[in-house]
Symmetry: C2
Subunit: 376 residues, 2 copies
């Protein structure tokens, strides 16, 4: 079997062994509804609340501020739709480089939406965002880090400036959480959405942090779970895995993993820089540590991706959320980049130097071959 | 350790070993986004579509009619909110004994809602439901089986009658699927919601069946997953487990498990009938096979539940979805029963005669003790 290098952690990471180990008893044995009065229900109730504490601890939130969801996407939808649900004429301010979950939810909501642009490294200007806030603005939704180019955003400055205003603030931290410190209290936002599988927690687990005292209409109704903020049986095993993934990053662990990730990414960056006509997108310094986003002059991203796959290297092309739609990247367009798609190389908790070696070895061969085909 | 009998399968069942076995490779190894173009993504894409075929096969649906969700509750919300999303003045017809996911979604929707009552065994009259349908009715939402008393409903008759009308029909089959045959094609409804964990699939997995050709606005947006009907990364491991649980019921297996369940439930019914003042609720014949719902004259359900728990028997009280809200049962009220709560004893795929023995032994002792306390 050919060696493979999985370098698409920014799409989704494998489950950390510690998370799986924590989940197994809840898949095998402790399965009861945590809302029940019987002993079986008490076991899962205690586990669920412990997981909530672990998630809250990593993210600088109070445990009661954590509303568990089935995904980051659900958390984002809950924030956007929930925030505007009771407004008569809602207005949302957001940016051009948000994830499609944010932009699609804004578009589907009844709100009037103002979209603020970004500079050439994909960063929005907090003053520009705040300047777009009107007296009747219901929600400001900004990301903490970009999902395609990795640029870390001044979301905290936006939240701080909006404290004086009537508007609620949602920070999409799905790309940031688990890779850079996220401190909900310091961020001072009303909502913050996170996804577990982006940093080694299970799929099917996310959270919307809701600032104490902020009331929001639930997206999914039908039970008093999550303190009446999200209906439906709690997926205790998934939340226990989410909690364990957060616990694995407690103390110095997050910084340690980030240092390793950055070193791997910089080695990948050095490798691709030896190929002529490769451009790096985003801010190489003020970015999440685990992601390298590049363009190859004169060559579309998809054939590079497929060529790398044949060499055993899995990366992702751009920001598209499904292989069925490879539409031009709105992120690159907002940055003014003259390319439709980028190549995103991303590492995670179990990435190794060998993965980068495989990529750095394969990349020039793939590009050379495609260039030869093109000119030949 | 004291032996325990878990008789709360109607709340949630433990995961079938076959489902867990099917899931483990997707928790341990195959973790990639099924929407990606790389080899890792292809593995999960193939698995996801195989799971979809398995779910479709059990439920008599086409694979493309299956929209995976994270829960039955999410599926119900998607049906109700999706059906009314584009109507100017939506009108919904539903019944008084629906799950709170249906009733709460109807209430939260912008629709005008007509609620049809039931008879003393909890069954609605299909003619009465159809008579409530107006020319401008957007959605008729009825259950296939009641979640508290188990009564099987004439949902198919409602769907058939509504075929002539403009209204969409949603059938909530969360309590029925996996316990009685559900045939989406024969049912002839537009939507049908199911939950995996009610019959030994994993938590975090559900499906909304959407009749071919019916368009519905998604509840959760932000990606083209599920053929643009539900945004967010697919939880492949959970859907594989859901598929495996469905496959475990293929052929004669569902009927076999139902026969066993009915025998266990009837033994439990005979046991409780020996205690004076015990009343059985619902239709003992036309009901899901795995559920016994009773009342004990002069005694509230909660102390019985707690007493049984001390004897090692886990059952559930009524229809409340959370221990924090033990409100009077709207199901019993709709049936005209003079009691606030029922006791629900429910079996599942791994229930045994020993579980029933434990219950039948403990029940008279608990009731006697409570009656002695009351009169003493």
């Amino acid at each position: 079997m050919v060696a493979r290098a999985y370098l698409d952690h920014a799409s989704t990471s494998p489950l950390r062994p510690a998370a799986l180990e924590a989940m197994l008893p809840f898949l095998r044995e402790h399965h009861a509804d945590p809302g029940r009065l019987h002993a079986e229900g008490k076991v899962t109730r205690v586990a669920l609340e412990e997981a909530r504490e672990q998630v809250a601890a990593l993210l600088g939130a109070g445990a009661r501020e954590v509303v568990f969801t089935a995904s980051g996407t659900e958390a984002i939808n809950a924030a956007v739709f929930g925030a505007v649900a009771t407004a008569d004429h809602p207005h949302i301010v957001t940016t051009a480089v948000e994830h499609s979950a944010v932009l699609d939810a804004c578009e589907r909501s009844p709100a009037d939406v103002t979209v603020v642009g970004v500079d050439e490294i994909g960063r929005f200007d907090p003053d520009e965002v705040v300047a777009a806030v009107r007296d009747d603005t219901t929600l400001v939704s900004v990301q903490l880090a970009n999902h395609e180019v990795g640029t870390i955003q001044p979301a905290g400055e936006v939240a701080a400036a909006c404290r004086e205003r009537a508007s609620l603030v949602h920070v999409d931290a799905c790309m940031a959480a688990g890779h850079v410190p996220v401190d909900f209290r310091a961020l001072d936002a009303d909502f913050c959405s996170v996804s577990a599988h982006k940093f080694g927690g299970p799929k099917g687990a996310g959270a919307l942090l809701v600032r104490r005292g902020v009331r929001v209409a639930p997206l999914i109704v039908g039970g008093a779970q999550e303190r009446a903020r999200r209906g439906g049986l709690e997926n205790v095993a998934a939340m226990v895995g989410f909690g364990a993934a957060c616990a694995a990053l407690a103390g110095e662990e997050l910084a340690g993993e980030a240092t390793t990730a950055r070193a791997l990414v910089e080695r990948a960056a050095e490798g691709v820089a030896r190929v002529p006509g490769v451009q790096r997108y985003g801010d190489p310094v003020g970015a999440v540590p685990h992601l390298l986003c590049i363009g190859v002059e004169g060559i579309e991203a998809e054939p590079v991706l497929l060529g790398l796959d044949q060499h055993g290297v899995a990366v992702h092309s751009g920001s598209a959320c499904s292989s069925e739609i490879l539409e031009p990247s709105p992120i690159l367009a907002a940055m003014g980049v003259d390319a439709e798609h980028s190549l995103r190389v991303s590492v995670g908790w179990n990435s190794t130097s060998a993965d980068i070696d495989l990529f750095v070895d394969a990349f020039p061969k793939v590009v050379e071959r495609l260039r030869a085909l093109r000119t030949g």
